[in-house]
């Protein structure tokens, strides 16, 4: 932890530190775009369900149509994003946040 000469708290110093800025960037640069992407992907599905019924009703094989496949793909994308986030968090976020937590908690017990 940086030395404390000014009035700012340990949290403000941490917030300004390059390591924390890097943690924040790694978290937000993954979570925010992916959130927008899955919301757009989901809304596309809902809007097509309302406004493109002929397309959704197109049979692909047997009685399986586009609507069903699109729906199943929403499940697949949800599972993939959950898996991808847990991988990203374990590799890129956890090591850095563990280190910063140790820094702060070590610092406050001085």
């Amino acid at each position: 932890m940086a030395t404390r000469h000014d009035e700012s708290s340990v949290y403000e110093q941490m917030q300004a530190s390059p390591d924390f800025q890097e943690l924040r960037r790694r978290y937000r640069s993954w979570a925010f775009p992916v959130t927008i992407a899955f919301l757009v992907w989901y809304l596309l599905y809902v809007i097509l369900s309302g406004f493109a019924r002929d397309f959704m009703g197109t049979k692909v094989f047997g009685n399986i149509n586009v609507a069903l496949i699109f729906g199943i793909l929403q499940f697949v994308s949800t599972f993939l994003i959950a898996w991808g986030y847990s991988r990203h968090a374990a590799r890129k976020l956890d090591p850095l946040s563990d280190k910063l937590r140790a820094d702060i908690e070590g610092g406050t017990h001085e």
Binding site: G50, T78, F79, S86, R101
Partner: protein, 536 residues
Amino acid sequence: MSEQALGIVLFLLFVAATLGITFWASRHTKSAADFYAGGRSFSPVQNGLAIGGDYMSAASFLGIAGIIALYGYDGFLYSIGFLVAWLVALLLVAELMRNSGKYTMADVLAFRMSPRPVRTAAGVSTIVVSIFYLLAQMVGAGALVGLLFGITSDEGKAGTIVVVGVLMIIYVVVGGMKGTTWVQIVKAVLLMGGAALVTIMVLAHFGFNLSEVLGTAAAQSDKGGAFLEPGLRYGTEAAGLVGKLDLISLGLALVLGTAGLPHILIRFYTVPTAKDARKSVIWGIGIIGVFYLLTLVLGFGAAALVGSKAISAQNAAGNTAAPQLAEKVGQIIFGDVGGTILLAIIAAVAFATILAVVAGLTLASSSSFAHDLYAHVFKRGTATDQQEVRVARIAAFAIGAVSIVLGIFAQSLNVAFLVALAFAVAASGNLPAIIYSLFWKRFNTTGAVSAIYGGLGSALFLVIFSPVVSSKKTSLFPTADFHWFPLDNPGLVSIPIGFLAGYIGTVLSKEYNAAKYAEIEVRSLTGAGAEKAVTH
């Protein structure tokens, strides 16, 4: 033995087992952290199952299977919204909330704000959302259990509501979060097991050919290919553009509501660390996702094997489709005795499902009453842990009693819309406040209060003047007509109002606390200073 008697025996076994667990849990519930957060000592798998238990309500099990059985594809739209919603919780809310909060949603919202107005708003919103949801489940329980166990008189249904209410009060008052979580876990395992069993039997009957199930369902429905496409239930062509906007409104409320439901949010506090909260949500997503795939087969299986006429003859909303399917497929594969046993199992599972969900809702609302309104608003933070827990127990008792009375009173009313309304309120009021609190530096007290009251108020206001309350045969008051808002679900309008109110409220006030924002940002991302698990 009749299926009613067998069903009641199985249900009593569930009650005996869960009450045993509850009294065991009460011996390990000493502190406030035990009562509110189960000592924060559940494992990710346990909490993942409990998330599934809290979330897979009778509305999603029986309701979705019923919509699919009667209207085909459209029930699937519901499942998808309910599932995708968990990504909002996983990516934006669960870990940050676990790191920066203590017992309730308001802990995070009030973190850097003036505590009393924000806690009051969050407490009001928590209690309103939970009671709506609770009421829908209680009324559903009366009707459903009556049907499954052959109780048809109004007194009998009222008796069922009383039994459900008394049991949920015992789970919460005696077992706190620890007992309630175990009830959720047991219920989730039973529900998954029951749904998987019936699904496998249905698929086996059709030679494990899903296309065959769908084809038979479509042929039986006398709607043909349209039964496998969207548009028979939501956003029908007859309802025109308004109907389609309603579909989008419902879709938005479903996907954004989950991460604002108080009884779901407090689940993240029951594990030791934020990492465990993340893992438990991932387990929850897996369990809930598989479950909704099972209900897809159950719904179409019921349409194919039972037929929509036989289903709507039992219950106009299709809520008995899954139990009827269990009986039918049991008969086909194992003969009459098999049908009886399978129906009894699914009926008991359905009852267990209702009980577990109402217990979770009662806990969320009584926790918020005690921790937010009593301890921080009335007592201004001077209440002791023991006082808080005592008030929480009294509140659970009172909320339970009120919901029993309201449930009996509302028995003959159509209150199914309350579930979708709870999601709309959560998405319009709670979610904007949570997202702004965690991510927007400038956010302040006026903004938080405006977001919650703006979202909550506009959702309620619009629903009162919507077709679900008056003007239609299926409305709450079918004979009156004071509606002018065209959509059944207010989300499309009220969610933007909630976000906008939070923004405008914030910029109109000069208040802003940089030091507290630094604290919540650093704490939420690093877990520094997060509440630790209780060790006994």
